[in-house]
Symmetry: C2
Subunit: 232 residues, 2 copies
DNA sequence: AGCAAATCGAACCGAGTGGTTCGAAATATT
DNA sequence: AATATTTCGAACCACTCGGTTCGATTTGCT
């Protein structure tokens, strides 16, 4: 709307002081304040004044960096999504022992998804999803959905190696993920659980989940190999 | 606070006109308006004036029936929970064919949980769970948790009959439920899916989920009986 | 030091907030 | 018809909302 940079839209080569609304440090500062407010109050209850206070930045400045409340919220969620799902799937990149890999991935996933911070963030997104459906969809698409795709291709690799036999790989991937969570997500997001599950509990759940999954989809070859390496 | 019934706190035997704030019809009317507003705006964004308008009841009257906004919201959620989980578990009461019963129950559960109306209601609860954790906890406890307990006792019966072998029945029940949903809940609640899944899709998922579950936990006896009845 | 620009801070806008109050109107019992 | 009481409807309270504006201040470069 307001062209703060005058007629300099051709090229901006200023190296020193960042242009208005372009300083990444200040931007981060604003988002950090927004994070605290949005995540513990939700979209509606959060006020721009709260964020102003929490970020230690004047209201006018915030509006230089972000068009309005909704855009600021979206920027925050986008960032949250990025940090939440970062490094979550790389354990699937190098195919080694099937069972161990599944357990390792499932444990990491389960710990992340049910951690207090992440649950709060997800609640915020869910709460806003009714008013801004695209936001929730984008969050899912670039977060959980991407992970799901990684699981699918991992399972496909296992199938190619003759270790698994899955009629519907896409469905199988969902089943695997859900088995690793086994109710934890719902319990956490409804705040039936007020604390994140312990490492021990998660390990128990994931181990059992992988067990069920492999009993259902593991091939003879897989079990034979496992027996062989166990007696070695 | 305000004693509208004067000094009649000993006994109120008036049979005709209901006492102030006691007419169940008017109460239902208020809650119906509250439902529409709360569920499509969320707790924070909903205003008492919206509800006044939607319910066709004056603001003063609402405050006769409910102490404040939060109490009205809780009353609504309590009712929603009741209608959502009504009649959902009775299919587990009469033990007949194991696989068929599991499929039937899983299908019903999956359809309910992912229906547009119920998803909206759940989103509202989740969104509010950050500010009113007890509300979310109560919702889960008297809804999903009760269903979980029913599943547990059903599985125990199946174990007693020698059809299943489950090391941790509680965990097994969670696994079963999650297998029946297989990602649908998360997709719906994040509004990644904007429409409820089709009957066909749910049946496919549930059938496969039950399959996985039985492959993991079904006993020799169970499979023998199933083969026998199949060739009959 | 001088200068240009980004940030601050506070005021302002109209609208709406939950909650409360109270006389007028509607209602059902007697 | 008279009576008792619930409900209505509108006004009011002090406050906050998101958003905008603008002069004063600070900042960092030349």
């Amino acid at each position: 709307m307001v062209d703060t940079t005058a007629d300099s839209d051709l090229l901006d080569l200023r190296k020193g002081r960042p242009a208005a609304g372009q300083d990444p440090v200040k931007r981060a500062q604003i988002i950090e304040g927004a994070r605290r407010v949005f995540i513990d109050k939700g979209f509606e209850a959060a006020s721009m004044n709260d964020i102003t206070r929490e970020a230690g930045v004047s209201k006018g400045t915030i509006y230089v960096y972000f068009e309005n409340k909704e855009e600021l919220f979206e920027a925050l969620i986008e960032e949250e999504r990025g940090t939440i799902f970062k490094n979550m799937y790389e354990v699937l990149d190098h195919f080694e022992d099937l069972r161990k890999t599944l357990v390792k991935f499932g444990t990491g996933l389960s710990i992340k998804i049910t951690s207090a911070k992440v649950i709060q963030a997800q609640r915020t997104v869910v709460g806003a999803a009714d008013r801004i459906p695209e936001l929730g969809a984008r969050f899912y698409e670039r977060g959980p959905k991407r992970g799901h795709d990684k699981v699918v291709s991992f399972l496909n690799e296992a199938i190619a190696r003759g270790l698994l036999e899955i009629p519907d790989v896409d469905l199988g991937a969902y089943q695997f993920t859900e088995l690793c969570l086994a109710g934890l997500f719902r319990q956490c997001i409804f705040s039936y659980r007020t604390k994140a599950p312990s490492q021990a509990e998660i390990e128990k759940i994931v181990t059992s989940g992988v067990d069920v999954f492999l009993k259902a989809y593991g091939t003879e070859k897989f079990f034979a190999e496992e027996r062989a390496s166990a007696s070695a």
